[in-house]
Amino acid sequence: MTSLATTEAEAPARAEPRRSGRLLMASAVAVLVAWVLVPIYLLVVNAFGSVAAVSAWPKSLVPEFDLSSLAFFANYAGVPRALLNSFLVAGLTMVMSIGLGAPAGYALARFRFPGANLFRLAVLMTRAFPLPLLALPLTVLFIRVGLDDTIIGLALVHTTLAMPFAVLIMASLFLSIPEELEEAAWTLGCSRLSAFRKVVLPLALPGIAAAGIFAFVISWNEVFAAAVLTIENKTLTAFLLQSLDVSPLPLKFAGGAVLIVPALLFLFAVRKYLFSLWGIANR
C-alpha cells in the first residue's frame, strides 16, 4: 500500500477522514460495478443454460456451460441469415462511414475554406434529430430505386447515423497530427498524396480503426430502421424484435447474448479512444 502511505504523508491532517471516505468510495464503486455487470452475467448464465434450465424454477445463478440454448438459437429458422445480414450491414456502414467521413474530416482539420463552418453545422445538426425516423420516407424511395429490403439500403441509413460521428472523430484525429509532420514530408520530397500515405495515414490508422468500430457498433445495435426497412433480409436486431411475441425464452436470451458479444469486444478494442472521441465529438 505504498500509494496510500505517500498520500497520507502529504496530507497528514486529513488522514483520518480520508480513510473512512476511501472505504465509502470503494463500496460505492463496488456497488456500481455490480449494477453494471450482474445483469450481463445473468444473461450469460441463461445463454449458457440448457433449454430446460432457462425455463426452470427457481433459477440457478451459476452457468451450466451447456451449449444447447445457443445451438437451438443457431439452428432456428432465419437466425444464421440474420446474423450474416447484421455483419454485412455493419461492415458496409463502417466502410461507407470511413470512406465518406475521413476525407471530410481531413478537409475540416487542415483547410480553412468558405463553407467549412456550414458543413460542420450540418453535420452537428444531424445529431439533433431522431435519425432512425428517416427510415420512414426512405422505404418509399428505396422501393422506387430497388433498394427496398436490401442490405445496402439499410447500410445507407445506418451510415447517416454513423457518418457524422466519423467526420467529427476524424477531424479531431487529423487535427491531433501536427501539420509540421506533413510539411516536413513535403520538404523532404513528398507530394501531398505521398506525404499523406507515408506520414499521416500510419499515424491516423489506430484512430480511424476506432472510428470504424464505432460505426460498426452503431449499425449492429440499431433496431428501428432495421425493423422498418427489412422484411426478408432481416438483421439480427430486426429478427429478434419481430419474433418477440412468438420466440421461446432460450431463443431470446441466446439472441441477446450473441447481440452483445461483438459490441463488447469492439468496445474493449476502442476503450482507449472512447473518451477522447467523445470529448471532441461533443464540443
Binding site: 450481463i40 444473461l43 424454477w57 427457481p58 433459477k59 465518406l100 444531424t126 451510415t159 425493423a227 447481440l259
Partner: protein, 287 residues
Amino acid sequence: MLRLASGEKVLSYVLILPASLFLAAFFFVPFVQVVVEAFTGEEGFTLAHFRTMADDWKFGPALANTLGLALVVVPVQITLALVMASLVTRLERGRDMVLYVFTIPLGISDLAAGLIWFALLEQNGFLNSILYGLGLISGPQNLLDYRNTAALFAAVVVAEVWRATAIVLVILVAGMGLIPKEYDEAAEVFGAGPLKRFFLITLPLLRPSLQTALILRTILAFEVFAVVAVLAGNNLPVLMGETYSWQFDLQDHKVASAYAIVILAISLAFTVFFLWALRDRTREAAA
C-alpha cells in the same frame, strides 16, 4: 492551419463533396419527405393524418409515457453519471478498469438491454429466483403484469438507466478531463470541502458537457423503443413504438410520418430549451 492557394480550396471541396452529397440525399431529402408525407393527402395540404393520430386512443398514453419516461430517466441518468464520474476521477487505482466496466452498456443495444432485464424480471427470472431463495416470496411473481402499467413503466426506467447512463458518463468524464485541476486545488486551498468544490467548481465548469449530455440523452429518450417492446410489449405505448406499428403493422406511412413529426418537434423543442437554459452566461454580462 494552412492558408494556401485556390488549388487547396478546390481540394477541400472535393474532400467534403461525398459526405455533403450523402447528407443531402439521406438526411435533408428524407427529412423534407417526412414533412411532406405528414402534411399532404389526396388533395394537397391536410391535417387529416394528425387527426387520425390524435383520435387513436393510444396517442395520448404514448405521448404521456414517452415524456414521462424522459422526465424520470434523464435526471436519474445525469445524477448517476455525475456520481460515477466523480468516483472514477478520484480513484487512484484501477481507474481504467472501472471506467471500462462503467461504459460497457454503451456497446449494448436497447434491444439487448431489454432482453437482459427481461431475463431478470420475467416470471421465472432471476429476481424472483433470488427473492425466493432468500425466503421473501413463496413462488414466482408476475413482475411484468400487463395490467400493472406502473410496474412496466418502472421496469423500462430501470433498464434505460442501466443501459444509457454510460453515454452520459463518457461525455461527463471527457468534460471533466478538460477542466484544469488548478481550479479545484485553488478552491481547496481557500477552504472548500469536497461537496462545496463539486457544486461550486466542477458542476458549473462542466456546463458545456452537461448541455451536450442533456440534449443527446433527451433526444435518445424520445426514441425509446426496443426496451419497451421487450419488457412491456404493447401494454406501454410509446411514440416510437406507435410510429413503428403504423408504418409496419398498419402500413399507413402517412400517420407514421405524423408521429415522426411529433417526435421531431418534441426533440427540437427540448434541444432549443437546453441550448437556452444552459447557455454561457459569463459572456452575456458584457454585452
